[in-house]
Symmetry: C2
DNA sequence: TAGATTTACGTCCTACGTAAGAATC
DNA sequence: GATTCTTACGTAGGACGTAAATCTA
């Protein structure tokens, strides 16, 4: 269990920026930090690693062999992290996954249709399948887990898991009922 | 190209420690930091992510669903980083890889033998193959890249790439001529 | 001199430990 | 009251920007 490496995510991005721009000055410009700050960051990193990463030249800075290796490491770490973080956030917000939604035919126009369209545009990463049908058919399908949720005219039964479709509750639908939440698959 | 996430490597290790110990207190003990420090770290991270990672209980702390996901991310990032960093350092020190070394038979004992044995014990991660043979045979093989280096009696030719075998140069052999350096494969 | 990196220095912000506070059984 | 997490507070060290210094064609 190795301890801390003495550098942080920011340093990784800075190394990559310098490598890409082949210049501390241009990288500093791109990163919107002072050139001296960047110099110190890179120096501190090289010192922490005890490995020189860049060869300083009159025309700029070029990666050493070790620098190339480290840059690859940094890039792969950052790439994995970026993707994972994005996915984490999306999942937490419930905007990725699959949502099979049954809609009673009589709702296929008007407010509900607008809402569904809006949801799709807000959450493009949700595989959003709308199935229309009769009330009974939809209720049967959602019971059998062939649908994740349905929008139907209210009736008897389903006291706890049904939500009345007022304006406020519509919003709750699009934020609370998501493919990744407990009870919905 | 996302910006900084507002946390660093240390934070990842701390989250994992808390998750493993299921307690801020025990994790702080294991990490040898103050409990308050750990609290602040985790809080800051949760705030940066805008996602709660732990559910605080009287008996300790337990991962939330999002916390489980994040912990997996953190573990995989750290694991990849640890391995890569180890490999980077080994490579930079020239102690991993393959070194095919030809040794003239008349050197197969004495100082050279001791040196080779020492090198092997210092760099156990080098796949170190010693091939003995006549001077001409070895020179032919190293020319044809079947060997990475040879130790032979000096003669004509090879002015730039040959190193006299004084005591100092012997050390240069074990530190400078490595499988990963330019010109040697 | 032009174009590049490095260093000096003062400031500010962050992270830390100590220690006290709150919540829950 | 014991155990656990949280918050206040003062300090020390790190990171930053400005600006001057250095180096090389």
């Amino acid at each position: 269990m190795p301890h801390d490496y003495g550098f942080n995510i920011r340093d990784l991005r800075r190394v990559i920026a310098v490598a890409e721009h082949r210049s501390l000055r241009r990288a500093a410009l791109a990163l919107e930090v002072d050139q001296g700050t960047l110099t110190r960051s890179i120096q501190a990193l090289e010192h922490a690693l005890r490995i020189p990463l860049f060869e300083r030249m009159r025309t700029g800075a070029r990666l050493t062999a070790a620098g190339v290796a480290f840059t690859k490491i940094a890039a792969s770490v950052l790439e994995g992290m970026d993707e994972a973080m994005l996915h984490l956030r999306l999942r937490h917000n419930g905007v990725v996954g699959r949502l099979r939604l049954g809609v009673q035919v009589s709702f296929a126009t008007g407010v509900v249709a607008d809402l569904l369209e809006r949801y799709q545009s807000v959450c493009p990463d949700v595989d959003f399948q709308i199935i229309d049908g009769t009330r009974e058919r939809l209720l049967r399908d959602v019971l059998a887990s062939r649908l994740d949720a349905v929008i139907v005219i209210a009736g008897e039964g389903w006291p706890g898991r049904a939500i009345p479709l007022g304006r406020k509750e519509c919003w709750q639908l699009s934020r609370g009922i998501t493919p990744s939440r407990r009870g919905w698959r």
